[in-house]
Every structure is written in C-alpha cells, then in structure tokens.
C-alpha cells in the first residue's frame, strides 16, 4: 500500500523548526535543487522538500544518488543558522548523527558512522548526506541538507556495482517498514539536534557523533587531491575534522577527501 506523504504537509509535525512547512512531490529531479530554489526565493528555515522518486538524485561531486521510486527517503531541508563559515561544515556532523540515531531505532546492533557523513550498517552504506550552501536574493546565506536513506529497497533495486557496499533497512531487518514512520523519526531528530545547536552550540552533537564514529581508532588512508594521508584516526576535533596520526607521529587534520579505513 502506498503511504500518503501529504500527511506531512498539513502541519501535523510538532517540531520547532525542521518541517514547519513541507513540500511533497511524487517525482522530481532532485529535492536538493528544489529546496535550493525555494531558499533562493527567501523561504524560512525549516522548509522541507520530500519526494517519492528522484530522477536525478544528487550525490557528492556530481555523482548520482540512485533513487528507486516509492521505496526510500529523499528529502532536503532549508536551514539558516547564524554559524560562522569555518564551523558550517559541522552541519554535516549534525545531519549524520540524526540519520544514525534514526537507523538505530530500527537496528540496535552494527550501526556506525564513517567520518564525516556515511551511516553504515554492518559496514554497508545505508544513507547519503549532501550539504550545499548558497546566498539568496536578499543576500542571506542558507544551507541545504540533503538526505537519502535506503528504507525498503530490495537487492534488485540496489545497483550491482554497489551491492557489496550498500544496504537498506529492509535488507537488514527482513521486513518492510513504514517510510512515513522513518520520516517522522528523522525530522524530529534533525529538529532536536538543530534546537540543541541553536541553544548550546555543537559540543554535545560532536560528543554523540564521536561515540558512534567507527572511523576513530582505525587505520585510515585519505586521498586529498594528489596527496595521501595514512595513519591512525585519533579522533574528531571541535571543528568536526578528523585527526590522523601518521607514521612519523605527526597529527594531521583531515577536512575533506576520500577516506578508506581498515576494518
């Protein structure tokens, strides 16, 4: 049975910011692009775009986020935090924590975070998070938090090239769950942590993130441009950056790049 997501558009969410207004599409090119356009036109923070199906779901660096229709969650949130540019990437940490906790509601064991934005179940990727920043027509800065979660995707719907690397809630627990229910939990979690950030800053969010981050304590290799950083992941600092100690005992800050870790 197809669930009616229009439920969320009727103001039924009791959140403070996230989901105050919800736009729902049966199908769209990309919820991130839709949210970006709304933000450019000046909508308040907390607007959410949800789609049942994406034709051109956006992944990182222009990659496509595979978006089979009706089975999964594709949503994008407009936020307008008064955060400094240097701290803005901590919104990635916030969103990843909210997704990991949502997955945790269904799966109690084996859920972990791969720094900075992947939620893994038994080492397989179950979600994707992509953030974008822009400046609207009033010259105000905004952020788009795009989240995809594989909810009821079957093995056939996960592309074979990534079938060893990707999974869904359905594949992990063996039965289909209500997408509406997952959306509810996710929107409340995002709202909860965004509220915490607005009142107290990022401190508790980083602490919780560290507790779930399986990258810490592992030997990692990170490709940044043409250089490679290899060593032991010591932790995540107050800016959300990964601290890696190389074989010369030099601690390096990793801000971006492609990360591989030894299991």
């Amino acid at each position: 049975m197809m669930e009616k997501f229009s439920f969320f558009t009727k103001g039924r969410l009791n959140t403070k910011v996230v989901g105050k207004e919800v736009v729902f599409y049966e199908e769209t090119d990309s919820t991130n692009d839709d949210a970006y356009n709304l933000a450019m036109n000046g909508v308040d923070e907390g607007w959410v775009v949800i789609a049942r199906n994406q034709r051109k779901g956006k992944g990182s660096r222009g990659r496509v986020w595979t978006s089979p229709g009706g089975q999964n969650i594709y949503l994008s949130v407009v936020l307008r935090p008064k955060v400094s540019t240097e701290k803005a990437s901590l919104l990635t940490i916030l969103a990843t924590l909210a997704v990991a906790e949502t997955i945790n509601d269904y799966i109690s064991k084996g859920v972990s975070i791969k720094w900075p934005n992947d939620v893994l179940v038994s080492e397989k990727k179950i979600s994707g998070i992509l953030l974008e920043m822009g400046i609207d027509r009033n010259k105000d800065r905004f952020f788009i938090v795009g989240i995809g979660i594989n909810v009821n995707s079957t093995k056939l719907e996960i592309p074979t090239v990534v079938s060893d690397l990707a999974t869904s809630l359905y594949l992990e627990i063996g039965y289909a769950v209500s997408i509406k229910d997952v959306l509810f939990k996710l929107l409340y979690r995002l709202d909860h942590w965004y509220g915490k950030y607005n009142t107290y800053g990022f401190e508790e969010i980083i602490e919780r993130f560290r507790a779930q981050c399986a990258t810490i304590g592992k030997t990692v290799s990170v490709t940044v441009g043409e250089s490679l950083i290899e060593g032991l992941a010591l932790g995540v600092d107050e800016d959300g950056f990964l601290l890696v100690e190389d074989e010369d005992s030099v601690v390096k800050k990793v801000i971006s790049g492609h990360l591989k870790s030894e299991v």
Binding site: S60, R61, G62, R63, T85, E86, A88, S89, L90, L91, T92, I93, P116, N117, I129, L130, L131, E132, M133, G134, I135, F143, V224, G225, E226, S227, G240, F241, I255, S256, G257
Partner: protein, 139 residues
C-alpha cells in the same frame, strides 16, 4: 616581476599574519595588501619605475581568496566543464569554484566584475583559510 614570482610571494605570506608587503626591485614595485577578514586581497602590480618618470601603467589584480579550509574544485562535477578558465570574463555573483569541507559544498562567488588572469590552485587540492585561489583583473 613575472606572474610566477608574484605567486611565490603570495605563497610565502599565506599562513602568516602579514597584511601588507611592499617589494621594490630594479625599478619595479609590488604592493600586496591582504584583507585578512574579507574575501578579496588587493594586489597592486604597478610596472612603476621608481628611478625614471616613465608613463605609469597600473595594472591592479585582485585575488579571490578562500573563505574556509577545504578542497578546491573548479567544476560542479568531474564530468562538467570548469566554471572559469584563464581569460574568462566573470560578473559579480558568478560562481567561480567550489570549496568542499566535510561534504558541505560552498559555491564561491566573485564579488566584482573581472577577467580571470590566473588560476593559482590545481583542481582537487586542499586550500587554507585566506589562501588566494584566482587572480582577477577588475573591469
């Protein structure tokens, strides 16, 4: 003083607190003023002779600097063309590059009309806060 030398000087002062530097050599004078809190560095490259009174051609280049640490990308995706090339004319508000930090894509816009004179960073390389990314000649 050629572009390579100017680039080298920029590299040397980056990561320092130096906000202004003036170098005079063989009748050429280079003045670099860095606005460490802002987005643009003004770099005066006057071909000005201090020893003669030749006609002065002041060619002022302005650097677009990175507002944050992250990875520098010249295009929206590996398959798409760069936002700008050397010689491109850009208008205020045009996206010139992306700085990615922890999967947050920051589209960097130019704050004035100009022509791209030089791209200082290779695609995909890490950049520091305040690091110069492009040299533009304002229009």
């Amino acid at each position: 003083m050629n572009l390579k030398e100017i680039k080298d000087i920029i590299e040397i002062i980056e990561g320092t607190d130096i906000s202004e530097i003036e170098i005079e050599r063989s009748g050429e004078r280079l003045v670099i003023k860095r606005n460490l809190n802002g987005l643009a560095d003004k770099i005066g490259v006057p071909d000005k002779s201090m020893t003669t009174n030749d006609a002065v051609e002041d060619r002022e280049l302005v650097a677009v600097v990175s507002p944050l640490v992250g990875s520098f990308y010249r295009s929206a995706s590996p398959d798409s063309p760069p936002f700008v090339e050397v010689g491109s004319e850009v208008r205020k508000g045009d996206v010139i590059c992306i700085i990615e930090s922890m999967k947050l894509n920051n589209e960097i816009e130019v704050e004035f009309d100009g022509i791209v004179v030089s791209v200082l960073i290779e695609n995909g390389q890490p950049v520091e806060y305040g690091q110069s990314l492009f040299l533009l000649e304002p229009l």
